[in-house]
């Protein structure tokens, strides 16, 4: 769900735009470290993947359906900086070319759906991975935790923006209740799909999962007799 024009007032939108620009700048810099000179084609293709995967709808209670935000998924698969960048690029394209989300709300949309989901999702993923045993099977569990919290966290930040810059006087309790309630459910769907997707990539190409780096067992050389 993209925020349209006129939903949040000017100063708050402008503030969010500054945050978004800073986030993209940090993402660009970090992505070059994560992907080196292959940044442009690889980040572009991963952004196209995020764009496609956002079309995967899953049923939420009561006949409504949510779609994947993909921030945590992208961050775990390709690294947090490239993840922020890819989600931001998808939102930028949707706002500029597809008229999905208002032009003046672009900063808000990028801050909430790009930066917050990736920072919270990837941060918790790292934290959970540190607490779990250092095995490949821990990665999907940590991915589940990260994605589960990232979506309601984004809803919380949205509520915060609404509290300081909402153009209509709705009691914040109602906004928070509705937004966070729905997004806890969406978060469960997001977590299940994120964990399952990470685990399926891990089974085929563990080298492509950025979040699982350092978990591979070092190559062991043995002689024909089985001695090391």
């Amino acid at each position: 769900m993209h925020i349209p024009n006129g939903f949040i007032d000017g100063p708050v939108s402008a503030g969010a735009a500054v945050v978004a620009v800073a986030g993209i700048a940090v993402g660009l810099r970090g992505a070059r470290r994560e992907l080196d000179e292959r940044t442009a084609p690889l980040a572009g293709l991963v952004a196209a993947f995020v764009f496609a995967v956002q079309m995967l709808n899953f049923p939420v209670a009561g006949g409504t359906s949510g779609h994947l935000l993909g921030g945590t998924l992208a961050a775990i698969l390709v690294g947090p900086y490239t993840g922020v960048l890819c989600v931001a690029v998808v939102l930028l394209m949707q706002g500029l070319f597809f008229a999905d989300g208002g032009l003046t709300a672009l900063g808000l949309n990028i801050t909430i759906m790009g930066i917050v989901t990736v920072v919270v999702g990837y941060g918790l993923f790292r934290l959970a991975l540190g607490l779990l045993p250092a095995r490949h099977s821990s990665v999907p569990i940590a991915a589940f935790v990260g994605a589960l919290v990232s979506v309601p966290a984004a809803a919380c930040v949205f509520t915060g923006f609404y509290a300081i810059g909402g153009t209509t006087d709705v009691s914040i309790g109602k906004v928070a209740g509705a937004m966070i309630g729905v997004h806890v459910l969406i978060g469960i769907g997001e977590a299940i799909i994120t964990a399952a997707t990470v685990s399926s990539v891990l089974a085929v190409r563990p080298d492509l999962v950025h979040g699982a780096r350092g978990l591979a067992r070092p190559l062991e050389l043995r002689s024909a007799g089985g001695t090391r």
């Binding site: 196209a48 899953f58 890819c86 070319f97 008229a99 208002g102 009691s171 299940i192 399926s200 492509l208």
Partner: protein, 253 residues
């Protein structure tokens, strides 16, 4: 998958609006949207005037009403939210059609519907009259970082390919009797998503090698030079200037 066809957002044409350089149109759009967003919501006539301006652009660009209306459906989720506002907002109530609704909520709903719709129509008009590739060049002209523009252009170029790949996977699943009813069917969908990621990433690696073999050094050559003349700037400025006049009128009247 072959190149050469336009995007479905774009309507090929040769109207005065189509011929304007992309960066002029982008700035015109930003100016127009800023004027609409900063107009006080109680000045109802101003939003009518903005709508008339956009209809003028649509007529000039020969974009049919049906196309505009279809593309406006993207706005629907928030229309639902806006319709709820009168019933949940605080403040004094008014009677509308026998229902007691919040006055502030009603105004808020109107505010979102009016400003949101104007923004969507303006954005759709821009995308309908400008090739997306040209829009990216326009962004580069407006000093967006070249790396970001390159990433966007790759996303645009391969977005269709990846989406089509996902569509083929869905057809393959469904032709084997798969129906996604609830979350229990997630593993199958997630395996497709994982395969899609691997294919996308590997395609990115192949694209990069293909670029290197054609002499890529980190920047893309600019083949199309889009320099704007004074007359073109003036033509593009017509919309935001007209909007500015309405905006000034709304603030003073």
């Amino acid at each position: 998958m072959s190149a050469g066809h336009g995007h479905r957002l774009y309507r090929p044409g040769d109207s005065p609006v189509h011929r304007l350089p992309p960066h002029c149109k982008l700035l015109a759009l930003v100016g127009f949207v800023l004027a609409t967003v900063s107009t006080p919501r109680e000045v109802y006539w101003a939003f009518g005037a903005y709508a008339v301006l956009l209809v003028g652009v649509a007529v000039l660009a020969r974009v049919p009403a049906g196309f505009l209306l279809r593309r406006m459906l993207v706005e629907l989720p928030f229309v639902g939210f806006a319709l709820l506002l009168p019933f949940v907002a605080n403040g004094p109530d008014v009677q509308v059609l026998g229902l007691s609704v919040s006055r502030d909520g009603l105004l808020g709903a109107w505010n979102i519907m009016a400003k949101g719709t104007l923004g969507v129509v303006a954005g759709v008009l821009l995308a309908a009259t400008t090739e997306l590739r040209a829009l990216l060049l326009g962004l580069q002209k407006l000093r967006m970082p070249p790396l970001l523009v390159q990433i966007m252009s790759f996303m645009l170029r391969y977005g269709g390919v990846i989406t089509a790949e996902m569509g083929r996977m869905r057809i393959a699943r469904e032709s084997r009797g798969f129906v996604a009813r609830d979350l229990r069917q997630t593993p199958a969908v997630a395996k497709s998503a994982g395969a899609l990621f691997i294919r996308s990433y590997e395609r990115g690696e192949r694209v990069h090698l293909a670029m290197l073999s054609r002499g890529y050094t980190g920047t893309m050559p600019v083949i199309l030079d889009t320099r704007a003349t004074g007359a073109q700037w003036a033509a593009a400025a017509a919309l935001p200037v007209a909007a500015l006049v309405v905006w000034a009128g709304a603030l003073t009247l």
